[in-house]
Assembly symmetry: C2
Homo-oligomer: 499 residues x 2
């Protein structure tokens, strides 16, 4: 491929002084929507990946799409980096500010513009919280399916930017499968709309391209999502196992039997013990691992599926099986799962959350590998994850006050991700690459593939002003990192010089 | 956005003479895989849209990915256009040859490389026929869900290029929802892989971008698809109605009731009469329209859903309801639907198939509009389509031997597509834009959006050598066409000069 002139992060030299920039932004948005005092900037210095922090030059909080467009046109004209931010709940540093740039908060875009119960769609502004969409749709018996654990706080705009998942994505898909249309502003301030309320749209699938693009291609100003009818009934089966591996194999067996549960999650004993104290879900604390398997649908469908799930779990060696008797109990069982990350704080001063995804058939093998690495590094690891779709969330427990432990945790994490790639998987299932997994991108992709990513970025944002330095490493960085991609499967045609 | 230097179709001036080109290609592939005699080229002059025909300079039939790479490197070095072709069943002219170019047939890529019953995936070469995937997966109780009517003949590579749909896409999604990974060669001959066997992949979603890109971005050399467990049971409800509108409203009512049928299709009386004679499906020929609504799943699920479907159809005014008693009867009912396009040849010398998609809630309104247009143009129109997902396939009947009828049919078709856009829909659901709907793209998209498409194309194929002149019109062409986009919804901020 021809060379793309890449703008490495941090080499952008904006012409405007901060004082001039603030003055011009205040002129566009009014003084109350522009923050520049260091104390006001502080809350924006990081997202959910707090190990990385940076103060932006200025924070803007526009009210309208027109103001967003004006900010982008100013930044584009003056060569100033722009980082868009939703609720800042992201876990890979995607909303980490740029020190020379404008942090564009979409927090004021909180309006639900339309709920169409017949077409089953919701048109919302990007700052609307994930859960607020389902709340607004509830009077019509509808809801929005993707449910990240942070759904109380995280926003739809951020969900689209990261292609967020959640417990129910096994049956209902990731964000990309539940978004119909996105309206966005390019760095030059052009408004573009991708997707359609109909099933498909002509032209390249830029809707899918924008989804999961981590704020690198455009600033989202409006999102139309699919709504689903709330299932008549939902029930959870909790199954306990005396080994993590057996639980992993039971997951594969459930899926292999043809069941697509609404959710299928695994928690190991470190996790269940950490959460049981405060959620009182009634988890089996003697088990090495438990599975939570949800069925939803009509009464009949649920009864039939639950019976089949129980059968498969028994055949897989479950030591205890319990079925939620009512919705309160079902929600308690899920509450522990959703609180697992914060609960890690009860058993360790610090933790580092990974997000590898592997083909389900390799679950047992990879879990065993993580156990071995845990011994090798002398660090404990909680395993709590979306087992049904092979999306692991190992939480590496460490103490940042012990010299060297953070580095050890990071190396442990990197080894887990390399193992995921070798097992035919990927380095992120739903949290994104951000700043956290740039090196692992070098392992997952060939140079020609990384270059294709850069060329797509260049097509939208020639000078690399939108969220610079995130998501896709430069080839230079990969060369410095010094390791090539380890993707499973041999490269073919070694005789052809360019492979 | 900055200007993109666009290479308009047909202005490419290859340096090599045809004689030299053929000699070099024969050197790369062997003489038997390079066709240059006009008689040998003839079968490749068009795809399923036979109104457009063009002979390529040469046809190549490589055997291996390595040979594909060599062909692409030669064409790239010499500035020769390349059009890739699967089975040539496409309906929008996507595989129409370029007169100065190489027609790259993937017909020899017919191997099923791997069926993994545990991971439920099939890894196949792009020339494998759609139905052959399901046949290979059948011994494991699995199948590949997307089922275009041409599935006996059409290939997976073509399905990916066009993001093909089919009867079962309402429940199981389009091709893009059933593809996990694509391996492809860029015009420069670099091998790239996008997607993963896992649920999600990091980086921009180039898998979705490639899917439906109509051969404009890369040449697909390998595809990994999802397989689904064959449902235990399937049953079809046939419901007859005394008006097309009532049938349209019943479709909306089925979906609104929360049922997601495996398929929900409509055929009007011109269609049922045309096909009944040779499929003997037992369609109600007195009805103005019939609906075919399929349920699949376990015995219990099907029984429950069929009962609900019957209830909704009755409430919607169905004059007759019949449920398939066995699989033979079910397949007969579908056979008529799948044969509807060829059957049009029985009632009219020529027909022109449209592919607009609209929000379901507007079905009744748009069907009425088509009826009015049919009177206005004095041309009959068969309506047979994927009603459940709002994907219309009006077949305009005309006689090419009557002077002016083709032009009338084309104008009628264009008016239908404009009506679809105005109803909040799109100009294609599953057949692609190709050469057929370039003008309608001008109506559907804003200039900034079309320019974004061109920039993405440019990111993959700087000189526009892959399938030139297809899928996305130049802004120049739109200006000449002289009509602006008619998308529903007002443009905001008329005061900002750039909108």
């Amino acid at each position: 491929m021809p060379e793309v002139p890449l703008q490495p992060a941090g080499q952008i030299a904006p012409r405007l002084s901060t004082r001039e920039l603030v003055a011009r932004l205040r002129g566009l948005l009014g003084p109350e929507s522009v923050l520049s005092d260091p104390e006001e900037l502080r809350p924006y210095e990081c997202d959910g990946l707090a190990a990385y922090r940076e103060l932006p030059r200025v924070v803007v909080l526009p009210d309208t799409e027109e103001q967003v467009v004006k900010v982008l046109r100013l930044c584009s004209a003056e060569g100033i980096p722009v980082v868009a931010r939703g609720a800042g709940t992201g876990l890979s540093g995607g909303a980490l500010p740029h020190k020379d740039g404008v942090l564009l908060s979409m927090a004021k875009f909180m309006r639900i513009l339309e709920i169409d119960p017949l077409a089953r769609t919701a048109r919302v502004q990007p700052g609307v919280r994930n859960l607020a969409v389902s709340e607004a749709a509830a009077p019509y018996g509808l809801y929005y399916a993707p449910d990240p654990s942070s759904q109380i706080a995280c926003t739809i705009g951020g969900n689209v930017a990261e292609n967020s998942g959640g417990v129910h994505c096994l049956k209902y898909g990731l964000t990309v499968h539940n978004v119909l249309k996105v309206r966005a502003a390019t760095i030059e301030g052009d408004i573009v709309e991708f997707g359609a309320e109909a099933l498909d749209a002509p032209g390249y699938d830029l809707l899918a391209l924008i989804t999961g693009s981590e704020g690198m291609l455009a600033v989202i100003t409006e999102v139309t999502v699919k709504l689903l009818p709330k299932p008549e009934k939902a029930q959870v089966v909790m199954a306990a196992f005396d080994s993590v591996e057996k639980a992993g194999e039971a997951v594969a067996a459930v899926i292999a039997s043809g069941i697509v549960p609404a959710g299928l999650e695994m928690m190991d004993s470190i996790t269940t013990r950490a959460v049981e104290d405060f959620v009182h879900a009634g988890y089996n604390l003697d088990a090495e691992a438990i599975l939570l398997c949800e069925s939803d649908g009509t009464e009949e469908e649920v009864a039939e599926e639950v019976a089949r799930v129980i059968e498969v779990m028994k055949a897989g060696g479950a030591t205890e099986i319990r079925v939620s008797r009512d919705d309160a109990e079902r929600l308690r069982l899920w509450a522990g799962r959703k609180a697992a990350f914060p609960a890690a704080g009860r058993v360790s001063p610090d933790y580092y959350c990974m997000d590898g995804t592997i083909p389900r058939k390799n679950l047992g093998k990879v879990l065993k590998g993580i156990e071995a690495l845990s011994k090798e590094f002398g660090l404990r690891c909680m395993n709590v994850f979306h087992a049904g779709d092979g999306n692991l969330h190992p939480l590496i427990l460490y103490d940042a006050n012990v010299p060297g432990e953070l580095e050890k945790a990071e190396e442990f994490g990197a080894r887990i991700l390399e193992m995921c790639i070798e097992a035919g998987g990927t380095i992120t299932g739903e949290h994104g690459v951000g700043v956290e997994k740039l090196n692992q991108m070098c392992l997952q992709f060939r140079p020609a593939e990384l270059e294709t990513f850069h060329r797509v970025k260049h097509a939208f944002d020639e000078r690399g002003l939108l969220n610079p330095g995130k998501a896709v490493p430069t080839l230079h960085r990969c060369a410095e990192f010094g390791r090539m991609h380890v993707r499973a499967g041999k490269e073919r045609f070694p005789d052809l010089p360019r492979f």
